[in-house]
């Protein structure tokens, strides 16, 4: 890594980490939001109401609350407060660790091990009202890696991101992606499975092994409990352990899928092995088997209006969320993409137009419903006393394309504040310039040293060619993101 690259990287991190200038994590301010239209999601709308926040929790909600002393008051007159948005399918904050594509059963891989609290997308998604995200691997494997629910606690180290108490999950994937229809490396043989038939058998095979593994441990533990001595325990298998947790109901299955047939396939396999599918993800043909999903008690987490980027998305319809909701399925709308996550409130609104959901039903798609799907609805997802103070304040009804998030609060901390963000931009710009100057100076030094050695020749004027020529340097190449990556994967089959 060149010095220039290092300096630029450092500058980028410095800028990224100061972008939100979060308050110290242990400060627990008493906050009072006043005069807001409160969209509780669980018990209707309160016009000109107040929310009192203490110790990171919602302490009181009502038409008027006496201002406690030492409380920081937020006057939200004309503004709307809703529960923090919960994104049931996210790939932010994982250092690009999206796919472990080498094997079809990659349950050994764990997303918790690559959590990256410096990912600027955490902040960007906060600015779009997201407070909780289900962070998953990609969909390259029939059985993918272990997943984790995080709170977007921007400014905190990675180990503080996980949502304590939320059950971990595992990503499954069905259809075109695990059978690698749209991906192939020239000259390399196709990986099994290459058909939807093989996807089922890959999952059945893995669970057959997991069941045997579980049995062997149970037999061993039984004999130990009976007092037998000098037994050799079964060999540990880190790949099968998460699957045993699935069988024991200690780990949720979140399965990527598109087509109606593969949805029913996994429900049959789950029944055969006695485990539950917690959510189907994307599930763009879920509307075709909505009754079966409702009967199985499985959640569905889908897109608002994506379609036609691949064959299995050709029957995708924007009415999917509404139709499944009306048939009794708990439905959420997810992002799958850092940019899409910045406007999930708008994506939820589309279900009012496409399928006629009510305002509250639409709001639930990105709040209470994903909370239920992730088993965290006692903690988050609505504005109720005792729940975590995870809230977003918008300047308009959030189910509008004109709504702009003003403040996002996580555990009672204002982690995004639009005014603060705008006010801080000048200082950041200055800091960036200063760092670039410093870097230029660092590059000049060797040249100057050379000149000093040649000092005797005083007649020669400073040579213009010795100046660093910016035109021939890549401008901040080191901090350039491949912005097309998300779209590539979206177009080429949504590998994410």
């Amino acid at each position: 890594m060149s010095l220039r690259t290092a300096v630029i990287l450092l500058a980028a991190f410095a800028l990224a980490s100061t972008a939100a200038a979060a308050p110290p994590p242990d400060a627990n301010p008493v906050l009072l939001i006043q005069n807001a239209t409160i969209l509780t999601v669980s018990h209707g709308t309160i016009e000109r109401g107040s929310i009192l926040i203490k110790d990171g929790k919602i302490a009181e909600v009502g038409p008027s609350i006496k201002v406690p002393k030492d409380a920081k008051v937020i006057n939200a007159a004309g503004q709307f407060v809703m529960p923090g948005i919960i994104d049931c399918h996210s790939h932010i904050a994982i250092e690009g660790g999206v796919n472990e594509g080498s094997v079809s059963v990659s349950s050994i891989a764990n997303i918790a091990e690559v959590l990256d609290s410096d990912d600027v997308n955490i902040y960007r998604d906060l600015a779009g009202g997201v407070t909780t995200a289900n962070v998953l691997h990609g969909s390259a494997n029939s059985i993918g890696g272990q997943t984790i629910v995080i709170k977007l606690r921007w400014g905190q180290p990675a180990w503080k991101l996980p949502f304590a108490g939320a059950l971990p999950g595992i990503k499954f994937a069905l259809g075109e992606n695990p059978k690698r229809s749209n991906f192939s490396i020239p000259g390399q043989p196709k990986r099994y499975p290459a058909s939807r038939m093989g996807v089922e058998e890959t999952i059945r095979g893995a669970f057959t092994e997991a069941r045997d593994y579980k049995n062997s441990w149970e037999a061993y533990n039984k004999r130990v409990a009976a007092g037998e001595k000098n037994l050799i325990p079964p060999r540990r298998d880190l790949r099968l352990e998460p699957l045993v947790e699935v069988l024991e109901g200690k780990r949720y299955v979140h399965s990527h899928c598109y087509r109606e047939d593969e949805i029913l396939m996994l429900l049959r396999v789950a029944k055969e092995f006695g485990f539950k599918v917690r959510t189907f993800q994307h599930v763009l043909e879920g509307y075709k088997v909505a009754d079966e999903l409702a009967a199985a008690g499985v959640g569905a987490s889908t897109f608002s209006d994506w379609w036609a980027y691949k064959v299995e998305a050709y029957d995708a319809i924007p009415y999917n969320a509404a139709l499944m909701t009306k048939r009794g399925v708990v439905v959420s709308i997810n992002s799958d993409d850092a940019a899409e996550a910045t406007h999930l409130n708008q994506e939820a609104a589309k279900s009012m137009k496409f399928g006629g959901l009510t305002h509250e039903e639409a709001l639930k798609l990105v709040t209470l419903n994903p909370a239920m799907q992730l088993g965290i609805d006692k903690r988050v997802g609505s504005i109720d006393v005792g729940k975590d103070a995870d809230l977003v304040i918008y300047n308009h009804d959030p189910l509008s394309a004109y709504a702009v998030a003003q403040k996002t609060i996580v555990d009672g901390q204002i982690l995004f504040d639009r005014d603060r963000d705008i006010a801080g931009r000048g200082a950041l710009e200055k800091e960036k310039k200063a760092l670039l100057e410093k870097e230029k100076a660092a590059e000049k030094k060797p040249e100057e040293k050379k000149k000093e050695e040649k000092k005797p020749d005083v007649t020669k004027k400073p040579d213009a060619e010795n100046k660093p020529d910016d035109k021939n340097k890549p401008p901040s190449a080191a901090v350039t993101r491949d912005s097309g990556e998300e779209m590539i994967s979206r177009r080429n089959g949504g590998a994410l």
Binding site: D305, K310, Y319, V479
Partner: protein, 444 residues
């Protein structure tokens, strides 16, 4: 009671209209008048209670005190808003059906220089995307070769062909076409040190010197093409057919070098935009910028050279980590204040219906309501030289008109009546049909 009957009759009429088959030429009256509606003409102040008359595929009259012609079918516009249909300035409409299935994708030719290929040639009038898109109030689009994402070869070409403008209804391209050749597409070569390798799905790094060398080579090739096209154009102008050997590619470039056909130049980084502007300036070519991710950095240059911009969707993340999170959302307002002319495009096919949403988001971040709507109606029409045909509600223009129950850019607004080339067109589409089919699925 009388009210109930009237409501019922009205509901029945609305139902009939909504259930009309996709094309209804046979049933339609000679003239249609939308009466007592709020009319946003974009050619003056909105008319709070006005009438718009459609005849022979054109807007016949519009105003507060327009007389309804005898025998005209009258649509009660009370509580409704009439606006020009939206114009999506960059799409692959009709050129791409299913992104991942190459046999359904005709949006890019192979090889770097294909000035002679024309989008209109390959637009599939039966594409399912067309009814889906027009149901969102989009009545005309520009189909742009070489604009659609990345194909598996990773290439979109340098001169990718000619973009075509057409209305989103018709039996054949001849019915639909507004203008066959609207602009010549140029994907401005980038100095790419980072590339994405689709075969291995991984990032690849390239030394800057190599990338720069590649870039210089591409620009000199491009210069060579333009030079040859200029000589060719002169030869056509001066001599008889025997004086020169015909070349279809150079012939296609002749209107470009003559300044008759603008170049639609795709570039996002400020450096690339500057280079492209300098190139077009030197070569005396008419330039329209497309993409413009960092247009705000070169806004003074764009204004001084009078170069309009077709912006990408604003609901996108900034290119750089250290840019403000809302960099692309506030850019339209910033360009507007600086006097840079711009439109917003979807740059997509299946996401075309998010066009209004993107314009509304630009408004949410500082653009005026009026400018937001114009960025997806009048301005693309003006930028492409089609404002004499579409973009506003004025007598004589093509009747691409939408009647909505509110702000046409808002997420929850519904298109109640859709007129394309004066024809009342159904908003039925693949998605609605699948919805209705499965809505009526009996319980298993």
């Amino acid at each position: 009671m009388r009210n109930t009957v009237r409501t019922l009759i009205f509901a029945a009429v609305v139902a009939c209209v909504l259930w009309l088959p996709e094309r209804t030429e046979a049933q339609q009256a000679a003239a249609i008048a939308i009466a007592h509606a709020k009319i946003v003409t974009l050619a003056g102040a909105p008319i709070e209670d006005g009438t718009l008359v459609i005849k022979d595929g054109k807007i016949a009259a519009v105003g507060a005190s327009v007389e309804v012609p005898a025998g005209a079918q009258v649509i009660d516009g009370r509580g409704l808003q009439v606006s020009p249909g939206l114009f999506d300035a960059v799409t692959q409409m009709g050129l791409s059906e299913i992104g991942a299935v190459s046999s359904t994708v005709d949006s890019s030719e192979t090889g770097p220089y294909n000035p002679d290929v024309v989008a209109a040639t390959a637009v599939f009038p039966s594409s399912e995307h067309i009814p889906v898109t027009r149901a969102a109030g989009i009545t005309e689009v520009l189909a742009v070769p070489g604009s659609g994402g990345f194909d598996f070869s990773g290439s979109r070409g340098v001169i990718a062909g000619q973009a075509s403008a057409f209305s989103l209804a018709g039996w054949t391209m001849e019915d639909m076409q507004i203008k066959r050749s609207v602009a010549m597409v140029l994907n401005w070569p980038e100095i790419q040190t980072r590339t994405f390798d689709l075969a291995t799905f991984s990032r690849k790094e390239k030394p800057y010197a190599d990338a720069k060398q590649e870039y210089d080579k591409q620009v000199s090739e491009l210069t060579d093409w333009i030079d040859r096209a200029r000589h060719y154009a002169q030869a056509i102008g001066h001599g008889g057919p025997s004086d020169f050997e015909r070349d279809v590619k150079l012939e296609a470039l002749a209107p470009v070098v003559r300044g008759q056909l603008p170049l639609l130049v795709f570039a996002d980084r400020a450096r690339d935009i500057r280079n492209a502007v300098e190139f077009c300036d030197k070569q005396k070519l008419k330039m329209i910028l497309a993409g413009g991710g960092e247009a705000y950095q070169v806004k003074d240059l764009l204004r001084s050279k009078n170069i309009p911009v077709i912006l990408r969707p604003v609901l996108s993340l900034p290119r750089e980590e250290d840019e403000p999170y809302d960099r692309l959302l506030t850019q339209p307002a910033e360009l507007s204040q600086s006097g840079v002319k711009f439109a917003i495009g979807s740059f997509d096919n299946s996401f075309a219906r998010r066009l209004g949403q993107n314009a509304a988001n630009a408004v949410a971040y500082g653009l005026s309501n009026d400018e937001g709507l114009k960025a997806v109606t009048l301005y693309p029409a003006q930028i492409f030289g089609l404002a004499d045909q579409v973009g506003t509600l004025e007598a004589g223009k093509i009747a691409n008109v939408i009647v909505t129950n509110g702000d046409p850019l808002e997420l929850t607004t519904e298109v109640r009546y859709l007129f394309i080339k004066g024809q009342l067109t159904s908003t039925d589409n693949r998605h609605k049909r699948l919805y209705e089919k499965y809505l009526n699925r009996p319980k298993p």
